[in-house]
Point group: C2
């Protein structure tokens, strides 16, 4: 009985390098198999409390309020849209790919009036355009996708926050950081980011199923001062705030049953990230280095990055156009045959022309695994095979 | 490395008998520790498809539509309230405890006008009262808590559905079955139940984190014919219906990342429930028998059940008033010392006067574990100890 997990692991020798879910450590998997525990027990409450505190540490925040709720990253959009924006208020969505369209859709569902500033595919929106928009109208929130998983474009959320603080200091800065937390640096307090929303299955190295939203005290005040009722039930901070405060004081409280096992898994991963052999700073450096290696190797053999320049390219994932004359069917199935699992295109404008590789978490910080080298070798081999097949 | 799971299990010899999360089988825990998998892979899609089909089987339904979404059971209320009820429409909430108040609160959040029919604590609402209410006003939905986890009261959802079909056949019958699916029989098609909403961590024997909602084709048609937009984003069936259909055809589609590991765990549990050594019918019988044993033993030594009569008492859990002169602090900590973890009171009117025991899933259908006997012996011992301490 005690060797089944080992058997299961060896049965799948595949390397998962999509931009989330990512490979996770054995410790995280073991924690996900924790025996059933009461969500109201003191043992569990203290684990949950640790998760709240460690989440804050990863964002270099002293007092922001984490919300850890069963759900996917998408639920973070609902939380922002239903708790921070009141029906009829304006929201400015800075668009660098697929996920901004969805966030805008979500905001509109809960009654916001949404304007979008759209970048060219692979580019970012100019700060001067954001400044002009903020001067033209009062926006309750401005949302920026930190790393858009559809394009691998990295936005300068620090720069956007500076513009907002200068031009429209009441506007809340919302970072959709699903594909960036723990793979890109975020100094929430110092940069003045009001909401960081993410999920468990990317840089945070945990299986999917946990929505992680962190709100500044300024955002909490805006929430507390709203004049209309919150427009979501399951995502209502009115319900969840007392629960999170209880758990942080290592007591339990009930609104809806938390994903107990996943909280244990998240705890295991957070412990490795914040107290492991690799410091948080070195972790960010390792992501930059792995990213540089993959992008350089790919470009040398004829792939071209979707991001238009190096300074807007994510460090936890890579999006690559296929070389001329090649498509997904030439590359992706051949990678799969070599047990390297990548993701296809997602952005509607270029869907068939590119693919995506994730390089986050343990694949990046544990060089003994050899994951990055495996990806690079496989890329080289399959392109050579694809060329040979066309010859 | 391969023995850590065993170590973790022996480290907690506690028996978890709260009304969810419940004890789960080793196979389910191992599946929850499945190595990371792409949510877009064919391997995962076929597992997800199986889960959809097996969920339907447990409810004896031929064509109802399951929605399996990362979230707690609470998210099911949001799905019903935002997809099936349009703002300003009437909802009738049949109240047998704490969870009806919350469902009403959720319905109102999304704009429904809610009327409640409240039973006395421990009782159910008379069908004649439901009939009178349905004749007085047009209701879009009537909601019934199948087993209210706060009172252990079992409602006759078959009877309520018969009344609705006779008096107001357009009204949808919604069963909040979080604490009943797989521990109480539900014949969704035959009884005419339009929505069964539940969660993974109770009778379904899986860790918490999965919202499971099953909608009849009649309910899906009502959803498709709504004249106003769906009022939730994350819970929108407009987003999820194509995804569930894709997965059922063993293909993958993307709206929000599913809780991949938990789906594997749910698959393992569903396989045991629908194809295991104990048939579904015998499983329901085993729950009745375990329930009878616990209730009889408890009443013999002086505890009294919260449900007012045997025919309204749940089979997957028991709620017991403490004997006169005793309170939670006399009983619950003593049970914990014997490694038996029960739950305190939840219903506001009687919170300090009673406690709750769960008896679902593997604790009930695997007699080798001896869980039911352990609960009964511990109850007897702690009451004797509590009496001795007062003497």
């Amino acid at each position: 009985m005690d060797d089944r997990l080992t058997i299961a692991r060896s049965a799948t020798s595949r390397l998962l390098v999509i931009p989330g879910p990512i490979e996770v450590t054995d410790e995280v998997l073991y924690a996900n198999a924790h025996p059933s525990m009461s969500h109201m027990s003191l043992d569990f409450a203290s684990v949950f409390g640790d998760c709240i505190r460690m989440t804050r540490n990863i964002l270099y925040s002293k007092d922001a309020q984490p919300f850890l709720i069963a759900g996917s990253g998408t639920l973070g959009w609902d939380q922002v849209s239903s708790n921070l924006v009141e029906p009829g208020e304006n929201a400015l969505v800075v668009h660098t790919g697929y996920f901004a369209d969805s966030f805008a859709d979500c905001l509109q569902t809960y009654g916001a009036k949404v304007d979008q500033l759209k970048a060219d595919v692979g580019g970012v929106v100019k700060e001067s355009d954001i400044e002009a928009a903020l001067k033209s109208k009062k926006y309750k929130v401005v949302t920026v996708t930190h790393v858009d998983t559809s394009t691998a474009v990295l936005s300068n959320i620090k720069g956007v926050a500076e513009v907002v603080q200068r031009v429209s200091p009441d506007t809340l800065v919302i970072a959709d950081a699903v594909c960036s937390v723990a793979s890109e640096e975020i100094h929430m307090d110092a940069w003045g980011i009001d909401v960081v929303m993410t999920a468990s299955q990317k840089g945070l190295g945990t299986p999917p199923g946990l929505s992680i939203v962190v709100a500044s005290q300024k955002a909490i005040k805006v929430f507390e001062n709203r004049s209309t009722p919150v427009t979501s039930y399951y995502g209502s901070w009115k319900k969840w705030l007392p629960i999170m405060k209880a758990y942080e004081s290592n007591a339990a409280a009930y609104f809806a049953t938390p994903p107990v096992n996943l909280i244990y898994a998240y705890h295991a991963s957070l412990s490795q990230i914040t107290q492991g052999a690799v410091s948080l700073e070195d972790r960010f450096k390792a992501h930059k280095e792995a990213s540089r290696q993959i992008k350089k190797a790919a470009e040398e053999i004829g792939f071209r990055g979707v991001p238009l320049s190096e300074d807007v390219a994510a460090n936890g994932m890579t999006a690559l156009y296929f070389p001329d004359g090649f498509g997904a069917s030439d590359i992706v199935p051949r990678l799969l045959k070599k047990d390297v699992v990548v993701a296809g295109g997602l952005h509607a404008d270029i869907k068939a022309k590119y693919f995506r590789i994730g390089h986050m978490g343990v694949s990046v910080v544990d060089p003994k695994r050899g994951d990055i080298n495996k990806v690079i070798s496989a890329l080289k081999e399959v392109l050579a095979e694809a060329k040979a097949a066309k010859a």
